[in-house]
Symmetry: D2
Subunit: 355 residues, 4 copies
């Protein structure tokens, strides 16, 4: 029942799908199926149980959200439902020897991996267009503005090159943060894989391979720095996107008129052209700094699993990534559709420099 | 497609419904119907048009979210759809003389009014139970703890009275902030009701009456202090709820054992009792400070309608109110189900004071 | 050693003085002197001890900051120093029966009371000038702008009236929050005034009277909602100040030219006029939302005194109040020195409406 | 006049010195001297002027802070004062062809370089002690705790290894962010080094060499991603420090008693031992997430130099770095002085597992 309308600028259709209930459950099922496969291969559970588990390819969210509140974990209603689906014999082998955090953290990682693909596509579009725009306008003169006042001449190409550089650097950092954060979570109840004895490390390796995720040197149940760094770099990257949108919305002011967006209309004034893409970018970006703060503030998590901090992370991470994606899609579209008005640039430059 | 599972601790079923797509559209339709009625009464539009508009009692969200991104406002696809539903004759009288922000801000206010009812109910439960618990344990001795170390004796009743006082004061402030924030938005394109000439003020009064909302002394298109104060007081109130949950989760530690929640189990350890309600409370509350910051940071909105700041508000406000509601429902349930262990309190007190 | 230069836009000289080391120590001494006086009057300590304590009218901060880190409280080095100053006989009666939090919270309240006076003066200046400006320009026509695009005509007086209304409402809320937050803290080690037996309540009343502070119904050692509400309302108020500065900086763009600040120059371009007051306002205001979040996030404080949350508050509160004061002083000066250009307003209006 | 007492837990003496007025002015003078030297070498200004400029080795802050508010930049009073110091002939060559942001950003970078050295030393201490502690206690059994409830056995060495891993990873990221952020700012009024014609690039290279700073591929006046990434990684690193402090403060509870800090006393209760180092760590860390949000929110800076966003950065960056340093110094001291109680660990383990 959450609202796509309320979140219209806070996500995109594509990313809303990546973080939908269906995706959550698919990712959780994928973890359980992969685990069961690996456990069967190592003789930890019967092959027939693994097959039964892997055969469940979807679950209905039903009242999971409501039930999750009773135990403070979504894994309990999920595992209960999965057990009831696999039949009596396989039931005890569902989620065998693992814990809530293994399935939930790994499911989050799987969703983030999917989201990253879409972000990368839009980033590539944006970077490509910025580079081209910068080259096209290498000699388009305009006035630079400091503190919102005319200063000295620059070229529009130089301005765009500045946008491009910031976006490129920030994506490189974000990309590296994704590399580090997309890691398997698998440690059992307290991170020691206690239920598997000497087979533990081998099982972890197999599971990582099965899910095509790196195996970190230790479980990260209470150490959230990799995710935190991802969230923080989302914040930096979004700041760079918003800077572009801010500049465009200012350049598009009627009194300035140096660029224009394809833009949107108004319900009250038919003739009006608005910097719609920039506005959506800025609206999406405005959400991100506070969300980053929320994630960072939740990092001092108690002992081997937090009482509140960990459980607060999902909506924060999902909101951050969707907001980045929304801002990115909007600004990429804006830059692709941007019309540049060199004549107005020249006129404003002349007005400012008196030449 | 947004996820109830990801938001399991960030909302409740009831509040998710209050902020659902259906509720958004119902609130927007209610605004348009009320406006049309009042306009018909004042002879601004034909009575038949008002009837046609009011007859539309639901719309499908369809691709509104996607279309809203093109114009940076949900009102455009909404009005377009509504026009196409009312028939050619009434179409031109839909949304007559009004603007995106009138319908969207007022719709938000209508949803907040609904949410407030549910918050008030849960607050009343919580306050009632805290008061009773405080009285029941007026003479139950325990050790007070400062900096997480035993200090001197107090009664458990005194501790609960502290919780009660903070919650009561903070609700009073939040309640007053609701009173102020639940106001009609109606100003037309730039806040001057320009389309209605001398009839403007009268129409605004009628509309306020029709929707049972106070009419502020002026439209608040670019002045968001009433909403900001509501959001901020949500933050203060939630902080008080989280303080209760923090204390309970600490008192319930096995080594302390002074209270226990009905609690939840674990997927890995069947015997374990967790402070599930406190954890859900803390998880919900952890989201709020960053969201408050996001709202406040968006307040310096440009001229007569912002380019980004206003458009960022909906998900922030909806998330804040739902997080408050989630924390409140969880802590109310926790306090109602709390078992107090005076024997352990006495034992810990004796261990600490050596008596 | 902290830097006034780094904080140039984050405080004013006046407020930096209000929150200086000397002010901190003066406020702490005032608490101890008032307490000793009241205790002597009630026969709790000898009159000679009270005189000796009250005779200490200043202390040097010396290495207090460094020592405070050893015990996690400034009160320990402070009390130690004060004891060594009053002579052997009075030493044991220094800080008698009270606790760190009593002196530190009350000292903060005394500093806030002082800060409030300066804020109130600048607010009065601002409100007065906004009201006058609004009246002067009741018929000065200009174009309203939505999403940074020209929309329809308004008067500049109406625009200023909007600023005025928001600032007035937000000050009223902030003022009420000050009323509530400026309360005595006095509870002894765990809030029970345990050391004074039946004299406790009477002593608290006397002390409140002596310091001219209201006596709350209970100590608030672990319940920070009054301060939180003050900090939050600072955030709302600052948002309204920043909105004015944003509008002015946009209106002062050379291409718009509808108002101008007395403004500041540039090290690189002698001829340039900058919206210096608006920039300082926006710079100060930008700090506040994150600080509000920091305060709110620290509210779930453990038991009868927090292990970290409380100890984080001082710099946050001091920074918030100084940032508000800096923004307020800057915007008040800006509005007082503002030059309005009705001719440019008319020209832009005509350009926009084609009339 | 800012207060070391208010900031007692928000900085250290060492870092307060790094960000003192004297350090700010020394860094600014160093920039101007280095620039003058390079300019003299390239024949841009007379050698005698460069000597006169470099001979000024200190300035008094005087009323710079107050004057900075008039122009919204500290550089104006600074340059004015420097000009008056160098004598009439050299005056025109002071700050020649450069701009506020060149000197202020580079001065910040120079201060950050100094701060980094101190952070690195304390980090090395912390990491060394964590590694040793982890090895010492590789077989010290204790109960792991999830959601603040006993779960299953682990070793204390494993717990410490978790702390160590998070701190090590986060430092590596922070260190890389320092590498990237510590770059020369030098672009002149609008980033084009317009005043130096073809000599510009050469002068920039020389200046970078003179200050031993990397020369970025372009000035970063309006592109703050490198600093933002540094600030954000400070946030992540601090979160890891605070996690250690949280665990220690919980383990040191009297009822748990598994570790103890050398700890601090209480003004009210002489016998009491407090987790003072953990408390200082948590207090310092609590400030950081909101400050990170403030920095990120200020990133969308207007055109070639922001009207507010840039001017808000100094206190934010200085506060973040000092808070990190305070948390780090406190937690390093805490870990170095930590006493571990294997007997209590065993007793709690047995109580929890019933064995």
């Amino acid at each position: 029942m959450p609202s796509r309308l309320i979140d219209a600028f806070a996500t995109t259709s594509t990313l809303a799908e990546v973080f939908s209930d269906a995706s959550v459950l698919a990712a959780m099922l994928r973890f359980e199926a992969a685990l069961a496969h690996c456990q069967a291969r190592l003789g930890v559970i019967p092959a027939s149980a693994a097959e039964a588990i892997a055969a469940v390819d979807c679950l209905s969210a039903g009242s999971f959200a409501e039930e999750a509140r009773q135990s403070a974990t979504l894994a309990i209603p999920f595992v209960t439902a999965l057990r009831s689906r696999v039949g009596a014999e396989a039931a005890e082998f569902v989620h065998y020897g693992t814990t809530s955090q293994d399935v939930l953290d790994t499911a989050l990682v799987l969703m983030l991996r999917e989201a990253r693909r879409f972000l990368a596509q839009d980033h590539a579009r944006l970077e490509r267009r910025l580079r081209a725009l910068s080259e096209e306008h290498a000699s388009t003169c305009m006035i630079a503005r400091t503190l919102l006042q005319p200063a000295l001449p620059i070229s529009f190409g130089l301005k765009v090159a500045g946008w491009h550089g910031a976006v490129q650097r920030s994506w490189r950092r974000l990309d590296a943060a994704f590399d580090e954060a997309l890691a398997l979570q698998f440690g059992g109840a307290v991170g020691t894989l206690d239920r598997f004895g000497p087979l533990g490390p081998r099982l972890a390796e197999e599971l990582a391979k099965e899910l095509d995720l790196p195996l970190p040197e230790a479980p990260w149940h209470a150490h959230r720095d990799r995710l935190a760094s991802l969230v923080a770099q989302c914040g930096v990257y979004t700041g760079c996107l918003a800077k572009i949108a801010r500049d465009i919305s200012l350049l598009m002011q009627a009194e300035v008129g140096e660029v224009s967006e394809p833009g949107g209309g108004s319900t009250a004034m038919q003739h009006k052209r608005n910097p719609a893409g920039s506005v959506v970018t800025l609206a999406a970006a405005a959400r991100v700094p506070g969300l980053v703060a929320a994630f960072l503030a939740a990092m001092p998590q108690e002992h081997e699993r937090a009482a509140g901090g960990w459980q607060s992370e999902w909506p924060t991470v999902a909101d951050v990534v969707q907001s980045v994606g929304s801002a990115l899609a909007a600004v990429a579209g804006t830059v692709e559709g941007l019309t540049v008005h060199p004549d107005r640039m020249r006129a404003n430059l002349e007005a400012a420099t008196g030449s």
